[in-house]
Symmetry: C2
Subunit: 458 residues, 2 copies
């Protein structure tokens, strides 16, 4: 039976980085991916959505200037060509991953793996079953679109995000169930192609994981762009009826559109991977339980989406690196579970890093807030941006969090994070020269020139 120092189950960002790091440091590594290397992020997640948004950005920039009557024009997309471009870029990156791992001597299996014991697994490939022994394993099987009874993608007029990313015709209208990152990004893309957007979110605000002010500004901006947004409304049914998608809300309202997207979150890929055999437990939501070392058992680390801690590709990669370091080291430090930066992309972007005001206040910290409006930034003005803000959260005198909504604010995320994690002092901030004019100055304005309000006060 082939034996490896490390078996990795799942070839998404976490599996890829773990395999690369471990193989580069001399471990014998096997990686089993049942579908496509690159996982959700590369194949049906962050990357293809960014390709679609990047390619259609001209529409957003055009509209912003048309509103100001500075220009006229029209842009029409060849959806087939756009999808081919996306597929080519994705395939190219996938091949690069495969080549890199093969070059490092990683044994790659295309097949589903399941644990048969604490140090053994079976990989089912097209060529038959291969039993594999391992000293350590990293479980990184990720998540897939969640569905709920009555609200399930049917592949006809009701699609999940995986299916929507293979769209062949632009719908006249789409009903998006879920106002989180996935629904927002795909909605922004389709809106640029001319699709009318109807969005339903059960929570009382869009992007419910973000700062409430960000949610509010997002709603204003998207409503101004023509989106019909239903907040605090639960859908009770969603199905294809004839050639349309039909959704009934709790209050009896019926919504119809050419197409519907269910974007109701993600659920972990933990079925059929022999968790019991490896003595791995799941939590109430089905995510793999881990200890503070990212271990799901004595021999298995669980990293990335599958442990449910931070559903971001960069979080997955960060955890993967830690797991490999732990496997290589005699002793290991606990994983710090750092606060993860996050972005939502589109015409109206969202970024956040560090703590939120609510979190800090709940922990009894003395919280204050300072803000700047994007409309006061010359670069944002130049791009016709009228909505948006940058908001800094202070824990006493220490910068603890930054969030923002508006034109290009994803570009502020690493700068904000560096200032927070390096615990930049007021003096250091003073000596940081912000080039003029930059969008970064909107962060400077919130950091340095805005009054601070005690959180919780009006």
């Amino acid at each position: 039976m082939p034996s490896h120092d490390l078996l990795i189950i799942g070839g998404g960002p976490a599996g890829h980085v773990a395999a690369r790091d471990a193989a580069a440091r001399g471990l014998s590594v096997a990686l089993a991916e049942r579908h496509l290397l690159g996982g959700t992020c590369l194949n049906v997640g962050c990357i293809p959505t960014k390709v679609l948004l990047g390619a259609t950005n001209a529409v957003a920039e055009l509209k912003a200037q048309q509103k100001r009557r500075l220009c006229s024009g029209e842009i029409s997309f060849d959806l087939k060509a756009l999808m081919q471009r996306k597929d080519r870029l994705v395939a190219g990156s996938r091949q690069a991953v495969e080549k890199e791992l093969a070059g490092l001597g990683v044994t790659l299996f295309t097949g589903a793996a399941s644990f048969t014991g604490p140090t053994s697994a079976l990989i089912r490939t097209a060529d038959g079953d291969t039993p594999v022994d391992f000293r350590h394993a990293i479980l990184a099987t990720g998540t897939r679109p969640a569905d709920f009874p009555g609200l399930t993608a049917d592949g006809c007029r009701v699609l999940d995000s995986d299916a929507l990313l293979s769209l062949q015709t632009v719908p006249q209208s789409i009903l998006i169930l879920g106002g989180g990152a996935i629904g927002l990004e795909l909605g922004e893309w389709l809106s640029r192609l001319g699709t009318a957007i109807i969005m339903v979110e059960a929570a009382d605000r869009l992007a419910p994981f973000e700062d409430p002010e960000v949610s509010a500004q997002l709603k204003t901006a998207l409503s101004r762009d023509g989106w019909k947004i239903h907040l605090g409304k639960k859908a009770v049914s969603l199905q294809t009826v004839g050639d349309i998608a039909r959704c009934e809300l709790e209050d009896g309202t019926v919504l119809e559109a050419d197409l519907a997207l269910t974007a109701l979150g993600r659920r972990p890929n933990t079925d059929g991977i022999g968790l019991e055999a490896a003595r791995i437990a799941t939590d109430g939501r089905g995510f793999v339980q881990i200890d503070d070392h990212l271990r799901a058992s004595a021999t298995v680390y669980a990293v990335g989406d599958v442990n449910g801690r931070a559903l971001w590709a960069h979080a997955a990669m960060h955890q993967a690196r830690h797991a490999v370091r732990s496997i290589l080291a005699a002793s290991s430090a606990p994983y710090p579970f750092p606060s993860m930066p996050g972005c939502i992309y589109g015409t109206h972007e969202v970024m956040r890093v560090g703590a939120s005001a609510r979190e800090l206040a709940a922990a009894g910290r003395p919280v204050s807030i300072s803000r700047s409006l994007l409309a006061a930034n010359p670069l944002a003005q130049a791009h016709g941006a009228s909505a948006g803000l940058v908001k800094c959260v202070w824990d006493g005198e220490q910068l603890a969090g930054v969030t923002a909504m508006g034109w290009n604010v994803s570009h502020l995320v690493t700068l904000a994070q560096a200032l927070i994690t390096q615990q930049t002092t007021r003096n250091e901030l003073d000596s940081l020269i912000f080039a003029h004019p930059t969008l970064d100055e909107s962060l400077e304005a919130a950091l340095m020139h805005a009054p601070r309000e005690r959180f919780g006060e009006a």
Copy 2:
């Protein structure tokens, strides 16, 4: 005779910031501006060029995707509306400056000031001459477009950048003399409006103050966009002939275009301001000489463009803040003359911060270089960017400089600067989480994942 703690001559970024800071701290301040508050930056520099580039960015994004045959479309601008929008934005900011300074009790004069002695000046306003006494003065009169014999803007077919920013008709072609930031930005703008660009630069590369690799990549990208670029060519004459602009180069080549722009650098505004009376000297290029405290004399500080040290608005503001602190403090530290971040905007942006490899090598430092290509970054790919790079300069193990060329790289400038000025260690870099996918990852790739080459070796 009215007497003030501080007289500021020039109401550009330096004068504005100095007046605000000094007045906010209780000094009695007079500010004389002979033309428009906001100076070059706000009225005929950074801001209007960014408005014009921002408004036309849709064209660049559209072209990048059209090249990949993903869409078709056309955008046509209403130049008059665009100019009005620019003028409105600029006027709004100017009014905000005026209101802020008036609110702080600054005495504002619209008029040219000239020193009549070390602590006295005369301000010539429309209402007559006003003599003013001061304890301290800050000279911040800035610069204006340079001209050279035979190459002077004539206001007819040969314009300087001030005049080009009031253009009323889009020319079919323009001949731009000077391949620095001003020529590049205005060229990018006109190119988006459909103007054919002919650029002549006396140095052997574009953007001669930037890294040579940046210059080379810029030339490749702009040539691909259809620019005709003549490097290492000196113009001997440039004039309006009939209804065209005609330029003769040293080698006898004759270039013709609808319009010409002289963008041959800037020269200081030092005429008629009584430098002798205030015992202020100028250097060989006409810039005001200063000591290491930014002082041009015992009573006068000279900050911003007029001292010729760093012709950036943010440099001017930084110096102004230092001058005010020095005036307020009993003792004063010398000005550190920090390395200034700088950007050139447009479709192909440039950013730089910190030291260049050449500078460090000339100082005998052990220099190495690491690079990433923008074409490997998913966000740059998504926006159709194929050119560009991020280049890190290392002094031993310490990050000493970063420069970049390509799509949106101006957004990397403050992050790079923070990492340099905070002397971020390798460990701190390791713990900095780069969100995926972001353009910031192109900096991460150059910082963390690229091999380092000794500078000077192939």
